[in-house]
């Protein structure tokens, strides 16, 4: 990581985080709700980025995990459970299921894996919709309560926003640690060259499953936030569409870049809102922008930024070693 990059990242980080902290005082409740949504989606996208960006496993099932997390949370909280254990439960449950779903990944080339996960997502959606006794079926589950921390209720938009932000910060720093730990190195090795990685003692099977499970777990946590955020869940949001949308977030942001999901989620969540002035045309505008973005910077926004920053500060040609 070149110095210029470090500086650039530092500045960007400082500005954006201070913005996020003061945001509630700049926006009406609507803006705060959108920002909360952004935070939640970013958590899910970070999970996918771990699976896809770092370990190189294409998963189209992230929405299913968000859904599972959301339904677990909605179902139990509306039945009087306290939020905190459930949030953990959602994460763990999805971790376990993700581990299971990871097994196909061990024997499939990436696009086949994409289709297996795609099928899985659709199956889960059907269960959400048809098992009315459990999920409320098409009617969904309404009046999902928002959590309270040590008597401090988070019903208000502000409180809940800061709560989402806190969780995001927590998750982000955990992942930051992870990708800089030997695990992160092993994930990259797995993505770049599994055969070589194996020959160096990297247990590719275990790391692949781990990447899947961790990504899924974060999806579950995002779901556990989504349910109390919207306070009503039904199957529609967790169909394949969201999985594709999360994939979009990761790739558009720059897959394999730590901050990719943050940017990607901005594009996927906020951009449509900014375009709403165009009335009926806003979704078209959104689609066009996404296409152009992919055509002109296929490596994602951060990939582009990376190129710009490093191309100006080119590494000097490396000298040959003196031979004794």
């Amino acid at each position: 990581m070149t110095r210029r990059r470090t500086v650039a990242v530092g500045i960007a980080l400082g500005v954006s985080s201070s913005f996020l902290l003061v945001a509630p005082f700049l926006f009406k409740p609507y803006g705060i709700f959108i920002l909360s949504t952004w935070a939640v989606m970013t958590v899910a996208a970070i999970g996918l980025n771990l699976t896809l960006g770092y370990a190189g496993q294409v998963s189209l099932a992230q929405a299913a995990f968000v859904g599972i997390g959301a339904y677990i949370t909605a179902f139990l909280t509306t039945n009087g459970w306290s939020f905190w254990p459930i949030c953990a439960l959602a994460g763990v449950a999805c971790f376990v299921i993700g581990w299971g779903l990871g097994y196909p990944a061990l024997r499939l080339q990436h696009h086949y894996l994409a289709f297996v996960t795609l099928a899985f997502n659709t199956l889960v959606y059907l269960v959400f919709r048809n098992e009315e006794w459990l999920t409320g079926g098409i009617y969904g589950i309404s009046n999902v309560p928002r959590p309270s921390l040590a008597g401090w209720s988070m019903n208000g938009a502000h409180a809940f926003y800061y709560f989402c932000l806190a969780v995001l910060a927590l998750v982000a720093s955990a992942i930051w640690w992870l990708i800089r730990s030997p695990w992160g190195r092993a994930f990259v090795a797995l993505r770049e060259n599994p055969i070589r990685a194996q020959s160096l003692g990297v247990d590719t099977r275990r790391y692949t499953l781990m990447a899947f499970a961790l990504g899924a777990g974060l999806g579950g946590i995002a779901g556990a936030l989504y349910a109390p955020l919207v306070q009503f869940i039904d199957p529609t949001p967790f169909a394949l569409g969201l999985s594709l949308n999360l994939l979009l977030m990761v790739v558009v942001g720059g897959s394999g870049y730590f901050f990719g999901p943050f940017l990607g989620a901005i594009i996927a969540v906020l951009l449509p809102e900014w375009l709403r002035f165009a009335q009926g045309y806003y979704l078209m505008g959104y689609a066009v922008l996404v296409i152009l973005l992919m055509v002109f910077c296929p490596t994602g926004l951060l990939g582009l930024a990376d190129r710009l920053l490093t191309s100006t500060a080119k590494a000097a040609p490396v000298a040959a070693p003196e031979v004794s």
Binding site: K28, P29, Y30, F33, I34, T37, R129, G137, I138, Y139, G140, S142, N143, Y226, L229, V230, Q231, F232, I233, D234, T236, P237, E273, R276, A278, Q279, G280, Y281, Y282, L283
Partner: protein, 377 residues
């Protein structure tokens, strides 16, 4: 083609720039895109038509209406965000949503904000959740379905019913309600076939319906699915008779179903094909403005706006609480307010009451065979 919407995009701006005096704000929050965009679009255009008419006549209490549109994408998460946005804009009333799920996710917020909302949702429980600011624009299914059940028992003398329904909140809600009502009238359910919204191939479903060979085939789905079902049925020689609700008998279904639609009959809560002068005129105006035939959602949006207009002028000021309280237990007749089209009353839960119709499709036209009186005189 709907290039007219391009104009629409700038309409609010025109109003704003138009006069210095603050206008009264209306908001439409509904399903402009997503799986039920058809209904949402109709409702929206009904609202737009009414607003444009009123503004042309100088607005309400001499104030022009400033209408803003919000698209829920038929997705509760988005719906909540958009409703919040609408509320932040501090509108006088909110029209929509149509998708009952979206109504449910937003009604709490609207209660807290104390903003009257004139909804298109027909799910039964909506009016039983104690929202003092919610008003329907068409029957809840708990009112429509008994009428159909009676019709099946009394007019058709049917003992068994084969039911096909679309698996979304509209279809599922109606299906659950109907099964209850049929049971109460000990009519047997011979088949219970769910189908997907947007499903195109009904060969399998119709085979199941045929196998049931019931006295009556009840079709409860969106217009185009109804049409596809009846085409497939005709193909496989399933005789019917087909009984259904508003959607089965709507002009759109007939147009799409071709002669396969002939002979379909049922109960119509609210229809753009009602044999009433005002409704026919409305239909003409609507078609002239948007170049397509409105379905009942068009009427719902249109009459919703006029109800608000009437009540507001009745109380003589823009006050939300008063609007809501006056509307409870109120009856509006076309004599009082032509824009209401059909005499309409609301009870204290915001549930609606109107005359409704028994209709049948006879050579490509919806023919009203009987007019059912309002439930409460």
């Amino acid at each position: 083609m709907r290039l007219s919407k391009l104009v629409l995009a700038v309409l609010p701006l025109m109003f704003m720039s138009g006069l210095a005096r603050a206008d009264v704000k209306f908001a439409y929050v509904g399903e402009i895109s997503g799986s039920i965009a058809v209904s949402g679009g109709n409702f929206r255009d009904g609202v737009i038509l009414a607003v444009e008419e009123l503004n042309a006549k100088g607005g309400i209490l001499k104030q022009k209406i400033e209408l803003t549109l919000y698209d829920t994408q038929t997705n509760p998460g988005v719906a909540r965000a958009q409703m919040q946005k609408a509320i932040d804009g501090d509108p006088y009333v909110i029209l929509g949503p149509i998708f009952s799920g979206n109504v449910k996710v937003t009604m709490q917020m609207l209660q807290q904000a104390e903003i009257p909302h004139i909804i298109g949702g027909e799910a039964a429980e909506l009016t039983s959740l104690g929202d003092a600011y919610l008003f329907r624009t068409s029957f809840g299914q708990q009112i429509g379905m008994p009428k159909i059940a009676n019709f099946i028992r009394d007019e058709l003398k049917a003992k068994t019913v084969a039911l096909i329904w679309v698996n979304n909140d509209f279809g599922k809600g109606g299906r659950d309600r109907l099964i209850k009502e049929l049971g109460a009238r000990d009519i047997k359910l011979a088949a219970d076939v769910s189908s997907e919204s947007g499903q195109v191939d009904f060969a399998a479903d119709v085979v199941k319906l045929k196998a049931a060979n019931a006295d009556v085939v009840f079709v409860y789905s969106n217009e185009e699915e109804c049409a596809r079902i009846m085409r497939e049925a005709r193909k496989q020689g399933l005789k019917g008779p087909f009984v259904g609700d508003t959607t089965l008998l709507s002009q759109k279904t007939i147009e799409l179903g071709g002669d396969a639609a002939n002979g379909a009959m049922g109960h119509v809560g609210l229809t753009a094909d009602a044999p009433l002068k005002q409704v026919e005129e409305f239909k003409a105006r609507f078609q002239k403005r948007f170049n397509y035939v409105p379905d009942h959602n068009g009427l719902k949006g249109y009459t919703g706006v006029y109800a608000v207009k009437y009540v507001t002028e009745k109380i003589g000021k823009f006050e939300r609480k008063a609007l809501a309280s006056t509307m409870h237990g109120l009856t509006i007749t076309p004599e009082d307010e032509p824009g209401i089209l059909i005499e309409t009353s609301w009870d204290n839960n915001g549930e609606i009451d109107r005359i409704s119709f028994l209709a049948e499709v006879v050579d490509g036209k919806q023919k009203i065979t009987k007019i059912l009186p309002k439930i409460r005189k």
